[in-house]
């Protein structure tokens, strides 16, 4: 059996490791556009800020490829997939045949057609180690005193913090009326904005960049919708990522927003699988196929894909959006649904001066989402309640108690979890 994995990051790593648990001898190739061995994309801001070293960036040990008996092909992107002849073609001209193919190419940053953006050389995105190196090099050279970051989502806010830690004066411009609109509610967003203020990061909400003005390709100023004009040294576009699917255009693999997969992570083509930020897979609360670009989803999908590719049937329980972050002193974990719908119950608990917050959204008697700050150590219990669609019953009254845990569960469920008896 010959497996070709396109991608060399979270989901491809987990696919390779799952394949090896089933098939010790099959040939496994991992192809990547980038030249690095697997690294932690989610730490790019800590690389820029120099809070952590290169050592922290590598996702797996130096000899991982050898140990896994994986043959890496790094540095040239796949430009075409021929699913009839079962061949992938690289930009370098090299071709690989496969028996089973995994598409794990992640996302590409979305750069909107802002006037003047194409003519400017000081515009960056922030989704690869290469991007982070280019920005860090300029900071190291003392060329970046100020920056504008477009987008206050996960990537934009993290990039802003990384730059601010290096003494760069950062302004984040966000179209919506709060930071992290898809990851926290407005209450926590307000606290995050206060942390940013302490770090010297300014935030401009309900605004966006309308025009980039440069001279000889060098950034002069950016004009905002509000009419204000800023004069940063660099501009970072962090509006979001979209599934990286362009090279599939000539194949018959079905693509909607991302590559459509079933609960075995199989695409519309029998021997082709997809996982991670590129895939559009069933979501756990709605059952609808969605793209949820986060690490725990990428790794689990990679693992399920790997098992199924190697012939061990495994069903994907469905993706759940969740995230854990800290801004300054404020630690936050959130998961699932954040905006209540008609009929949902919302439970909140706030200790303003401590910056302690808990919010739970209960839908049809089951936990559907939560936001926690500060007191986060039991977050996984809530995550599991959501994922396992547990009927809350009386537990609903205890959700916001500190140290909420299995002792609040009904006896039968609690004992089955604690004692694992047959």
């Amino acid at each position: 059996m010959k497996y070709v994995l396109v991608g060399n990051s979270y989901s491809a790593v987990w696919a390779a490791e799952a394949i090896r648990r089933v098939d010790a001898d099959g040939e496994v190739f991992m192809i990547s556009a980038e030249k690095f061995r697997p690294y932690a994309k989610a730490l790019l801001q800590d690389y820029v800020s120099m809070r952590f070293t290169e050592h922290h960036m590598y996702y797996r040990g130096e000899h991982w490829y050898e140990r896994m008996k994986v043959k890496p092909g790094l540095g040239s992107p796949v430009v075409e997939v021929n699913d009839v002849a079962k061949i992938v073609v690289l930009e370098s001209g090299e071709k690989f045949t496969y028996d089973r193919l995994l598409i794990a190419t992640g996302g590409v940053p979305f750069v909107p057609p802002i006037k003047g953006v194409d003519e400017c050389r000081d515009v960056y995105t922030f989704t690869t180690w290469g991007d982070a190196m280019r920005i860090k090099d300029r900071v190291d050279a003392g060329e970046v005193r100020s920056a504008v970051v477009i987008g206050a989502g996960l990537i934009g806010t993290q990039c802003a913090e990384g730059l601010a830690a290096r003494g760069v004066k950062v302004t984040i411009v966000e179209l919506e009326n709060q930071v992290l609109p898809r990851a926290v509610d407005s209450k926590v967003a307000g606290w995050i904005e206060e942390e940013f203020h302490k770090e010297g990061i300014s935030v401009r909400l309900s605004d966006t960049v309308e025009e980039v003005i440069s001279a000889d390709g060098r950034l002069k100023s950016v004009k905002l919708k509000s009419g204000d004009v800023l004069e940063p040294d660099i501009l970072v576009v962090a509006i979001g990522v979209r599934p990286n699917v362009d090279f599939l255009r000539s194949s018959s693999v079905k693509v909607d927003r991302g590559v459509l997969v079933d609960e075995h992570m199989r695409t519309s083509v029998e021997d082709v699988f997809a996982a991670g930020d590129v895939a559009q897979a069933p979501e756990v609360l709605t059952g609808e196929k969605q793209v949820i670009p986060i690490i725990p989803v990428a790794t689990e999908q990679g693992k399920i894909a790997g098992f199924n590719m190697a012939g061990k049937s495994r069903t994907y329980p469905g993706a759940l959006s969740m995230n854990s972050f800290h801004f300054g002193e404020l630690e936050i974990i959130s998961a699932g649904k954040l905006t209540p719908e008609e009929g949902d119950e919302v439970i909140t608990y706030v200790e303003e001066e401590k910056r302690l917050y808990k919010k739970f959204i209960v839908s049809g008697g089951r936990l559907a989402g939560y936001v926690l700050t500060r007191d986060v150590e039991n977050a996984g219990v809530y995550t599991a309640l959501i994922r396992n669609r547990v009927e809350l019953g009386d537990m609903v009254h205890a959700l916001s108690e500190s140290r909420f845990h299995f002792h609040k569960f009904p006896e039968k469920l609690r004992k089955s979890l604690l004692e694992v008896r047959a």
Binding site: A40, A42, Y58, S324, A379, G380, L413, L417
Partner: protein
Amino acid sequence: MKVVYPREDFCVQCYLCQVACVVEHSQSKNVINAYFRENLRFTERCSVYAEGPVSFSLMCRHCTEPECLEACKNGTLYRDEEGRVLVNPEKCVGCWMCIMACPYGVIKRRQLETRRIAHKCDLCPESEIPACVRACPNGALLFEDRGERNDEVRARW
């Protein structure tokens, strides 16, 4: 693999498991020194939970397919050859993705001098039987291999 399972009907809420855990992971292996000289108070890797007559101590199950490993940003969490799920303290950046993902809620935050890292049960590598199990006066913690049931139960609550 053998891991630690609590029996709530036998737990007397004495917290000796927590103390034994701290001492086992100390330099001095002495209660007073561990708490006062080495400053290890609150570094136990198991937690006692109690509600009325119900109490139990809970710690990592060392799952075959751990959610914490899948969520980890940079490969800090790993399984060793014996199957134990461990934290590489040098590598941990304290992002708490593992805490968000662990269905048993047994990963803690530990304060080091300059940073905080994930902290969890390591099954006491220096001892044949984990310290909490040895310390339990009433057999409320058992060190046993319950095979695949461990994973089956976790997969469907």
